[in-house]
């Protein structure tokens, strides 16, 4: 009995801890006054109207979405061949590439931001959107590598063997057995990079922050000049995007399994 109460208390306190910033940011965005009141006073959607009619906020928002979409596609395009070659050919080259790819996630992000600042300055190519996209793609490539690797490993080889004995050619096996199993893992890799890139600040700021002002950069710049509830609107939109994206992943696939869970 006491055990159950302790468990319940622990989970409740953690849930409150994790939910608090989300609730505060959302609450402030509904304020009727331009101050950071919580709970919100004179509830209104004025800041939403202000956000959607301000070209600067809209451009930061769409820029973030473009960067995140392209970065996630680029990361998967690097991760997928490596994961496939590791699974199919047990290639040593693929294993080497995998460890190089994983290095960047194991480094403090402030160091990565300096690394990429130096690199793009050396190329004489500072301040372009490609800088942000490619830097994010390499930094977050670990995530699709992990999920897609999990996907290939979850393909039951007996199934592949059975298909072969029944006369399926390599292409048939890939199309009818491997693809449906691996696809949800590819999608979850895409979603992870998308969400993390959407919200990444310091690397984006260092490589192109003055020209490519993504939403987190704009929010930070605004914070320095003084508070405006408009920036919380952007945050609420990103939260909704996050809930939507991860719920979609849970719908098309088995979320606990996609994250590597499940008893074997």
């Amino acid at each position: 009995m006491t055990k159950a109460i302790g468990k319940f208390l622990f989970l409740t306190v953690l849930a409150v801890f994790m939910a608090a910033p989300l609730v505060i940011v959302a609450g402030v965005s509904f304020n009727g006054t331009p101050r950071m009141n919580f709970p919100p006073q004179n509830v209104s959607l004025a800041w939403y109207a202000a956000f959607f009619s301000d070209p600067a906020w809209m451009s930061a928002f769409s820029l973030s979405v473009i960067v995140a979409s392209l970065a996630s596609l680029a990361a998967v395009s690097i991760a997928f061949p490596i994961a496939y070659a590791t699974w199919k050919y047990r290639s040593r080259m693929a294993l080497l590439l995998e460890s190089i790819a994983r290095i960047s996630f194991l480094l403090p992000s402030i160091v990565l931001s300096i690394v990429f600042l130096v690199f793009w300055s050396w190329l004489g190519h500072v301040g372009r959107i490609e800088d942000t996209i490619l830097s994010h793609a390499v930094v977050f490539v670990t995530l699709p590598l992990t999920t897609i690797g999990l996907g290939f490993r979850s393909v039951d080889l007996a199934l592949v063997e059975a298909a072969r004995t029944m006369g399926a050619r390599e292409g048939d096996v890939l199309r009818t057995i491997v693809r449906p199993i691996v696809l949800p893992y590819v999608v979850s890799g895409l979603v992870f990079v998308f969400i993390l890139s959407l919200n990444e600040y310091i690397i984006a700021y260092m490589v192109a922050g003055f020209e490519v002002e993504t939403l987190p950069i704009k929010v930070f710049n605004n914070l320095r000049m003084g508070f405006q509830p408009t920036m919380c609107v952007g945050a609420v939109l990103f939260m909704l995007l996050g809930v939507f994206a991860f719920s979609a992943v849970a719908l098309i696939g088995d979320l606990p399994k996609l994250l590597g869970g499940g008893r074997i």
């Binding site: 622990f10 994790m18 910033p21 505060i24 402030i110 310091i202 939403l215 994250l259």
Partner: protein
């Protein structure tokens, strides 16, 4: 041959975007400073000479302390949380996972900001503390190390859960039951059964928490006391305000070496301990 074709794009992209940038970082760290904010050709150890300043050593110490505190708290909270999540009914499990993943969709800029709001004087936690009799009057709780730690634990916790989730969801309850039936106390069962099976991912989660903390720039800048700003903030200002890339590069290499050492030490301590 098909393999070569398959791996050509990953090879080129990783070579260009990982290997070359790192070699450049090493190179720039020994280049002379140029007023334009870039660097000039030549070799000098000036940037490394500036690393011995007491201010920098203090900041490194602050980074290490912060990393250890955040990693210990994240693992201490994240381990039981993940264990409980893996034992929940499927639907609730999925809801918890989506909830934790959604917290990833707020930038650290916004998380730091909302902690600032929560800890401010006008609204926020101090009022609750006053109501509970824990504090005499409402006061601002930032800037403080506690605020930085709370914010960083918040940011790190989802990653801790994601790292521990696979192994804990596979952990077989029968083993713990067996140990208990054979007379082991819950603590002993945990130490002799659960710990050895989960040590590797727990060490990985701990090291990852340290790396994420050491690299975090915005939370300590927004919530911390300037005299306790860790290396990350100083590196950022060397590059952004000081326009001194060679110095920022040397400091980055210094921080990298310290982080690596910390990770190796953690692995060492973990290997040495816990032998039943």
């Amino acid at each position: 041959m098909r393999l070569g074709l398959l791996l050509s794009w990953p090879t080129v992209s990783l070579l260009v975007l990982v290997t070359i940038p790192f070699i450049l970082l090493l190179r720039i760290s020994i280049a002379p400073h140029d007023q334009s904010g870039m660097w000039s050709p030549g070799v000098t150890l000036r940037a490394y000479g500036t690393l011995a300043e007491p201010e920098l050593l203090g900041a490194l110490l602050d980074s290490v302390e912060l990393a250890l505190a955040v990693a210990a708290l994240s693992l201490g909270l994240g381990f039981p949380l993940t264990y409980l999540i893996t034992r929940m009914r499927r639907r609730i499990q999925v809801v918890w996972l989506i909830f934790l993943l959604t917290t990833l969709s707020l930038s650290d800029v916004l998380i730091a900001f909302s902690w600032q709001v929560m800890l401010s004087k006008r609204i926020g936690l101090s009022k609750i503390f006053v109501a509970l009799g824990l504090m005499d009057e409402a006061a601002s709780l930032t800037p403080s190390s506690g605020a930085v730690i709370a914010c960083l634990v918040y940011l790190v916790l989802p990653f801790t859960v994601l790292t521990l989730f696979p192994v804990l969801s596979r952990l077989n309850n029968d083993l713990i039951e067996a140990a208990r039936t054979l007379g082991a106390s819950p603590v002993r069962a945990f130490v002799t059964v659960v710990v050895p099976l989960t040590k590797r991912p727990a060490v990985i989660a701990f090291v990852m928490a340290m790396v994420l903390t050491v690299g975090a720039y915005v939370p300590p800048l927004v919530l911390g006391r300037p005299q306790h700003w860790p290396m990350a903030v100083l590196i950022g200002s060397a590059a952004l305000a000081g326009h001194d890339l060679p110095r920022a590069s040397a400091m980055s290499i210094f921080l990298l070496a310290a982080t690596l050492l910390l990770a190796l030490l953690t692995a060492r301590v973990a290997r040495g301990r816990v032998r039943p």
